[in-house]
């Protein structure tokens, strides 16, 4: 084993351990701010894995998009909504946790089994390093042209939708009749069939 390959091995192990422990922390910690910061750490570690695979452009994009944009946005959202609220305790929480843990463990066992029994095509294609950016650009403008262009429509529509959801309503009158309107569904809320007699 050469120094290069053993260094690579050590880096891989450290990054993978970071990803596993970090993701467990994201899911299990009670404080949501810790979860958000750990998520940022996990994203950074994934970027490190991309670097190990010699895909520097993807690693840079990962850091810019996921750490720089998505994670910061999550943190903003958490800090804007700092409302203390005591949630009602959920019945049978331990049992639910055990059940969902069992389902996840089963899924993990299934994935590991599939992973072991499959004969993967190893080694994979040769990494092309710095030329990758060029190659990605070529793909975006040839065989992935349609999804690339459609993504712009998707982003435009998402932006319009975000503005519509966030802005203050300006319409108070019906355009057709000029009457004042009450924003919301036209259908009134249905009263439940069985009205609870115990409540006053």
């Amino acid at each position: 084993m050469t120094i290069a390959s053993s260094t690579q091995q050590i880096c891989f192990l450290v990054l993978s351990a970071g990803i596993v422990i970090g993701s467990l922390g994201v899911v299990l910690l009670e404080n949501i701010v810790y979860s958000a910061f750990l998520l940022g750490g996990v994203f950074m570690a994934v970027a490190g894995l991309y670097l190990l695979l010699n895909a520097s452009f993807v690693a840079a994009a990962q850091v810019l998009v996921y750490v720089g944009a998505v994670n910061v946005l999550i943190l903003f959202a958490i800090m804007l909504v700092n409302k203390k609220e005591d949630l009602k305790p959920i019945k049978g929480l331990q049992l639910r946790r055990l059940l969902s843990g069992g389902v996840c463990a089963g899924l993990l066992a299934l994935l590991i089994r599939v992973d072991i029994t499959t004969t993967w095509k190893l080694p994979g294609p040769q990494a092309i390093g710095e030329q990758a950016t060029e190659r990605i650009g070529e793909h975006l403008f040839t065989d992935y042209l349609l999804p690339f262009e459609l993504a712009s429509v998707l982003l435009l529509m998402a932006m319009i939708g975000a503005i519509v959801l966030a802005r203050r309503d300006i319409l108070t009158n019906d355009i057709g009749t000029g009457e004042s309107v009450k924003p919301g569904l036209i259908e009134k809320a249905n009263t439940p069939l069985l009205i609870d007699k115990s409540s006053p």
């Binding site: 519509v164 009158n173 355009i175 924003p183 919301g184």
Partner: protein, 523 residues
């Protein structure tokens, strides 16, 4: 086919740039989507001039865009089948048929939307443009032949649907519907990505055709895992039981015209995706996915129709009935014969008219009275004969009573299923059809049979009927078109049968599946 060779070459190993420039993009195949996109941008631009201008100019722009799209689709019909965008998109007859169903469902939903949107005080220009974006995604999904295109168009459709579901943001029900749809939908998208990454790992490409070839020789466990993941996404999109939990809540909380689009347009795109992925890609696992789909179809038909019996809200009842209807359509997909596919296409087109007709009626009723409770329809016959007649015809057709359009669609599906020896599916279908007739007829009974003094309070205070207000004339046009198509379409259904058969005959993907099945049955 030299082009196909070049294509495979281009997707597997990137050639020199000069060679790539010589490959034809064949971009004319997505001209109809171009028309929809232009209409979307047009509505955005007129919206800048204020709400009054948007209310005046958005409708004609949308009609022009969708009308052009439908005309362009008609021109592509039976045209030469060439892969476009280097294997990302294929405009075969099946794709054209489903894209036409999607575009027509958007056109009809827009016609019935305007009055509803104005009365609830929501901005119209943005509503139309988001709905058109959803249409664009759904239409591209119908013809996408590449995992990346499939995913991006699926997301365009889904994100637009979440936004539309939450469009009445001042109403807690609408926000709840949007949040539930977003969470469940994102989970489904994540599952699809997992399945797609496994498929890419098996084959090293994102092209569905090459993946299909690679799956013939791939090891079973991993391919089966990918199949399960992909199947879950498809079942989520067509709301098959047990992936249906989002449907009733989303349908009840979303604005009703949006529900009309979701129940037809989005579902049609889901079925097109099912054909592309399951029939086209997983032909090596035919027995497995057909078994799974049989289970899903039986569950959808029984649960959808039985739970619909207990509903008191019209929108919720139609939500459960749409789950049951999706189960009927799945019979055609499971058959995999020429008749099965044709019956699926035919039933989808019939379902478009009868379901949108029913939605036009209940929207008109809620615009006039502000209610969607079934018991509030009591005695409506005295006050509003048009809604009564239209809703009765559409519900009878959904139940499959002759001589409506729905009867011929359903009988063709059952015939195809019986011919392919899917006895379980056909018997469950017949029994649940009878159950569905019961709850459809009880609505009709509520409207027609009650004496004037037994009428509900809402109907007793019914406003005088007028059609002058802006937005009501288009609604009337849509209502009458759908009801006429449902009522007369059954008697004159021969062109529709021919159309559905041509759709199957002009699709190489389906022809291959049928030929494969034929040799399998002989050998």
């Amino acid at each position: 086919m030299p082009q196909m060779g070049a294509l495979i070459f281009a997707t597997q190993a990137m050639a020199a740039p000069e060679e790539l420039l010589n490959i034809a993009l064949n971009a004319g195949a997505i001209a109809p989507e171009g028309a929809v996109l232009l209409a979307m941008l047009g509505t955005l631009i007129v919206d800048l001039a204020g709400e009054k201008a948007a209310a005046k100019w958005s409708p004609p722009i949308c009609y022009a865009g969708l009308g052009t799209a439908l005309a362009l689709l008609a021109m592509q019909w039976n045209g030469p089948i060439e892969s476009s965008f280097l294997g990302s998109f294929l405009a075969d007859n099946l794709a054209i048929a489903f894209r036409a169903v999607v575009a027509l469902s958007t056109l009809l939903s827009l016609l019935i939307s305007w009055r509803y949107a104005e009365q609830s005080g929501s901005p119209i220009g943005e509503y139309a443009s988001i709905l058109l974006a959803a249409t664009l995604g759904a239409m591209l999904l119908c013809g996408a032949t590449d995992l990346v295109s499939v995913f991006v168009s699926l997301e365009t459709l889904s994100v637009a649907s979440y936004l539309l579901a939450g469009y009445m943001k001042r109403d807690a029900r609408s926000s709840e519907a949007a949040l539930k749809y977003l969470l469940v939908g994102s989970a489904a998208a994540a599952v699809f990505l997992y399945g797609a990454s496994l498929l890419y790992g098996i084959s090293g490409t994102t092209n569905l055709q090459i993946i299909g070839v690679a799956l013939l020789t791939s090891p079973t466990p991993i391919a089966a895992l990918a199949l399960v993941f992909i199947l879950a996404t498809v079942a989520f999109k067509i709301a098959a039981v047990p992936f249906h939990q989002w449907t009733p809540d989303v349908y009840e909380g979303s604005p009703t015209p949006v529900v009309a689009f979701l129940s037809v347009g989005s579902k049609a795109a889901g079925f097109a995706l099912a054909v592309r992925l399951l029939v086209g890609c997983f032909s090596a696992f035919d027995n497995q996915w057909k078994l799974l789909f049989t289970v899903l179809a039986v569950l959808s038909m029984s649960l959808g129709n039985v739970v619909a019996l207990a509903q008191t809200s019209m929108k919720r009842m139609l939500a459960y009935s749409s789950i049951g209807q999706a189960g009927f359509v799945m019979i055609g997909l499971v058959c995999g014969t020429e008749d099965g596919f044709a019956a699926m296409v035919l039933y989808m087109a019939a379902y478009l008219f009868m379901n949108l007709g029913a939605f036009a009626c209940i929207i008109l009723f809620s615009i006039r009275t502000g209610s969607d409770r079934i018991s509030d329809y009591a005695g409506l016959y005295q006050k509003d004969p048009l809604i009564t007649l239209g809703l009765s015809l559409c519900l009878l057709s959904l139940g499959g009573i002759p001589p409506m359009l729905g009867f011929f669609g359903k009988i063709y599906l059952f015939f195809a299923g019986w011919a392919d020896q899917q006895y379980l599916l056909v018997i469950v279908g017949l029994v649940t059809s009878v159950i569905s007739i019961y709850y459809y007829i009880s609505v009709i009974k509520m409207m027609v049979v009650k004496e004037p003094q037994e009428a509900s309070e809402v109907v007793k205070a019914y406003p005088s009927i007028q059609w002058k207000t802006i937005g009501l004339p288009p609604l009337r046009v849509a209502l009458i078109t759908c009801v006429l198509a449902t009522a007369i379409g059954g008697v004159l259904s021969n062109p529709l049968f021919q159309w559905a058969n041509t759709a199957v005959a002009g699709t190489p993907l389906l022809q291959e599946a049928i030929a494969l099945k034929g040799t399998g049955a002989l050998g």
